[in-house]
């Protein structure tokens, strides 16, 4: 175990990409599983608490310590094995998405979830049930977790395979590897039926493994995981289609999401007029008439590619006057260029916010598909009426927007915060969620209260207590 107590050596671990900052007196870097078990046991007997740290790209302060010691998993960074036939990849928890991507290149297999931030670790992704652009077709991280090697807050361990331990209705009763019995009840709720990552995953007769995915490290530490892979498509066609009108973009979207559509994208990402404006200085070729853009990807193969291109063009022509301006990507470097177009946005917003020395105000709400357009229009009129500078982009295929408000003064920020709360509340009222992918962490707890009443949040607490009687692990996340 490496232990650092000189703050200068671990300052960056006190915060994450949300800029929320905490405090701690020491950083522990374990080098074996045994060391972690030992530390957890000591925490229970001596009464200290521990916060697990991944790469710190989280946007909710979930890895930020509030006085606890920090436990960084950075030495658990190896890819253990690839089982090609079973299409499974075993990785330790600190392996980063970019490493998984590089490792699998050329193998004919791929790991479908594709969160934008490639420096994030798989442990962090499991903590948040991260999702990404391809979630539209493939679902979030949860779907691709087959096995978790877990250390519980008590110091007991759990080797958890999907399909082995289920709830009996709304009740769990099982034993750790060491034979200690754990039992608790689940609140009888139904989660919003949209992309969702706020509070524990709860379902009648659910698989225990699903409780740990999206638990923000509150129920146990993940040492390693086995990931399900899929055969990589032979060819992927990427396109950025520009639109000259709000309604036409929605007509296009509804069409490509319908079963009879001539193309069925695996990814649909949205950029609004302000996003395009923000990117124009760096990317001069954005057509001047464009008010919106959609980035889509269609899976294809060598033989079908030409006719798929034709279909993309025909569909685009039907819904926008700017079809002739469509950008296309076929080679890896062209795909990278489109992905960079997407990744440049959060960075551009981040720079602006820093420039004004303001905090980030970005929604992570998702709403049912049928309400998306009205929700979007309501957001725009609220922002315009209140004269706020805003940028909206996001995973429109999953009816999931990131609406960012850029404020210049503290006074403006207070006003913006009110509007922001209204928008989140509106998503809940429509049957959506307060957080579709980033989680609750330490800075979005008020929003969880918009989604669930006290009774539900209390039963979340009871689940936490069933695993962590002495409040040892990741205290301050979720509730």
């Amino acid at each position: 175990m490496i232990i650092k107590t000189n703050l200068d050596e671990f300052n960056e671990y006190l915060t994450d990409a949300s800029c929320f900052t905490g405090y701690s007196e020491s950083l522990y870097i374990p080098e074996s599983k045994g060391e972690i078990v030992e530390l957890f046991k000591r925490a229970n007997s001596e009464g200290f608490s521990i916060t697990i740290s991944g790469a710190g790209t989280g946007l909710t302060g979930s890895r930020v310590p509030l006085g606890s010691i920090i436990l960084s998993m950075e030495k658990f960074n190896s890819i253990k094995s690839l089982a090609k036939n079973e299409k499974m990849l075993e990785v330790e928890s600190f392996v980063r998405l970019t490493e998984i991507q590089d490792y699998l290149e050329g193998s004919g297999l791929f790991y479908p979830p594709n969160p934008t931030e490639k420096l994030a670790t798989i442990g962090g992704n499991i903590g948040n049930n991260a999702s990404g652009s391809r979630t539209y077709k493939y679902g979030a991280t949860r779907k691709y977790i087959d096995f978790l090697e877990i250390i519980l807050p008590s110091g007991d361990t759990l080797d958890l395979r999907r399909g082995e331990i289920f709830a009996n209705g709304w009740h769990f009763d099982f034993c750790s590897n060491e034979g200690n019995r754990i039992k608790f009840d689940l609140p009888e709720i139904s989660m919003p039926s949209v992309k969702h990552s706020a509070g524990y995953f709860i379902e009648k007769n659910m698989d225990l493994i699903d409780l740990f995915i999206g638990a923000e490290g509150t129920l146990g530490l993940i040492v390693s995981a086995r990931l399900k892979l899929l055969p990589a498509p032979q060819e992927v066609l990427g396109a950025i289609i520009f639109f000259d009108e709000h309604n036409k973009m929605y007509d296009f979207l509804n069409y490509v999401k319908s079963i009879e559509a001539a193309i069925s994208p695996r990814l649909i990402e949205f950029f609004d007029d302000n996003s395009l404006e923000l990117l124009r200085p760096a990317i001069s070729q954005i057509p001047s008439k464009a008010v919106y853009a959609l980035w889509i990807e269609v899976e294809s193969d060598g033989e079908k590619a030409d006719s798929d291109l034709e279909s993309i063009y025909q569909v685009a022509q039907k819904f926008t006057n700017l079809a002739d301006e469509t950008w296309l990507a076929q080679s890896n470097s062209e795909h990278k260029r489109l992905a960079e177009f997407r990744h440049a946005l959060p960075l551009a917003v981040y720079e602006k916010i820093q420039q004004y020395k303001q905090q980030k105000l970005g929604t992570d709400t998702a709403v049912p598909d049928a309400s998306l357009k009205a929700y979007h229009e309501e957001m725009i009129s609220l922002f315009k009426f209140n004269e706020l500078e805003y940028v909206i982009w996001g995973h429109i295929g999953n009816s999931h927007f990131h609406a960012n408000i850029i404020t210049k003064t503290n006074e403006e920020f207070e006003n913006a915060k009110n509007i922001f709360n209204k928008i989140v509340a509106r998503a809940v009222a429509l049957g959506g969620t307060v957080s579709a992918e980033h989680g609750i962490g330490k800075i979005k707890k008020d929003y969880l209260k918009m989604l669930y009443n006290n009774g539900v949040i209390n039963s979340f607490r009871q689940i936490k207590i069933a695993f962590d009687r002495n409040s040892v692990l990741n205290i301050g996340n979720i509730f």
Binding site: G106, L309, A316, D324, S331, S333, H335
Partner: protein, 248 residues
């Protein structure tokens, strides 16, 4: 103005490269090929000159049938004609130059544009050899270009600075990054390019002047950079992390 643009077909810069079983070439299986990135600057410059002055732009490549894809990309970007000099896959620069020179003599372009190097074998020899063979002025590593009548003014990147060079047409210009911002091929143009004719002719064999003995993957040691802890360096550190290390 008639412009000839030389286009090389190179492995996608975003592809993992491995050495093939013979140890003298890269493993081609699973590798996607693209237009050499420096040639994209050459293509873009040619198209802009044509848009200003009229004339035709011809893209030429040398290699196997597989090379047709880079000609299609060139056509999608907007060149008027595409020519494949069909022969062995080129590894010896002399073979490439001899064949391109032959074409150039036939169509007598006012200007030959090409990338400063191709990012596969990095021989950097073409622009100069071509100049010698065609007895034309050859200006390499050009990052800004103006042509008025037959007066060429080029700005070259040199160690630690810029150099201004003048010559007359016909001339050879090799393109450096920064010369322009190459246009993204648009979907309808990509589709139209698929059915355009490709002028194909046989390559002339030459006696190789060089041959490849072996190639290997460089070891992955990371070169660290030490910078002084001054406020002035903060912007530079951010820039390096963003542009070179690509971690932020």
């Amino acid at each position: 103005m008639n412009i000839l643009v030389c286009v090389a077909r190179v492995p996608d810069t975003a592809t993992k490269i491995m050495v093939g079983s013979g140890g003298k070439a890269i493993e081609q299986n699973g590798v996607k090929y693209v237009v050499n990135p420096y040639d994209e600057f050459a293509l873009e410059e040619a198209l802009r000159l044509r848009e200003k002055n009229g004339g035709t732009v011809t893209a030429v490549t040398i290699g196997t049938d597989a090379n047709v894809d880079v000609l299609r990309t060139s056509l999608a970007m907007g060149v008027d004609k595409a020519m494949l000099i069909k022969g062995d896959e080129p590894t010896d620069s002399y073979y490439v130059v001899a064949n391109i020179a032959k074409v150039a003599k036939e169509i007598s372009p006012d200007l030959i544009l090409l990338g400063k190097q191709s990012v596969d074998y990095d021989s950097l020899q073409l622009p100069a050899m071509l100049g010698e063979m065609l007895e034309m002025p050859s200006v390499s590593v050009v990052s800004a270009l103006t042509i008025e009548g037959d007066e060429v003014k080029a700005e070259r990147d040199i160690e630690g600075g810029k150099e201004q060079v003048a010559c007359k047409l016909p001339a050879i210009i090799s393109a450096q990054k920064g010369l322009n911002d190459p246009r993204y091929p648009k979907l309808p143009d990509i589709m139209k390019a698929k059915s355009k004719p490709i002028d194909t002719r046989e390559a002339e064999k030459t006696t190789p002047k060089t041959s490849i003995l072996a190639i290997e993957i460089p070891s992955k040691a990371r070169a660290g950079k030490v910078m002084e802890a001054t406020d002035e360096n903060i912007d530079e550190v951010v820039r390096l992390l963003n542009q070179e290390a690509k971690v932020i």
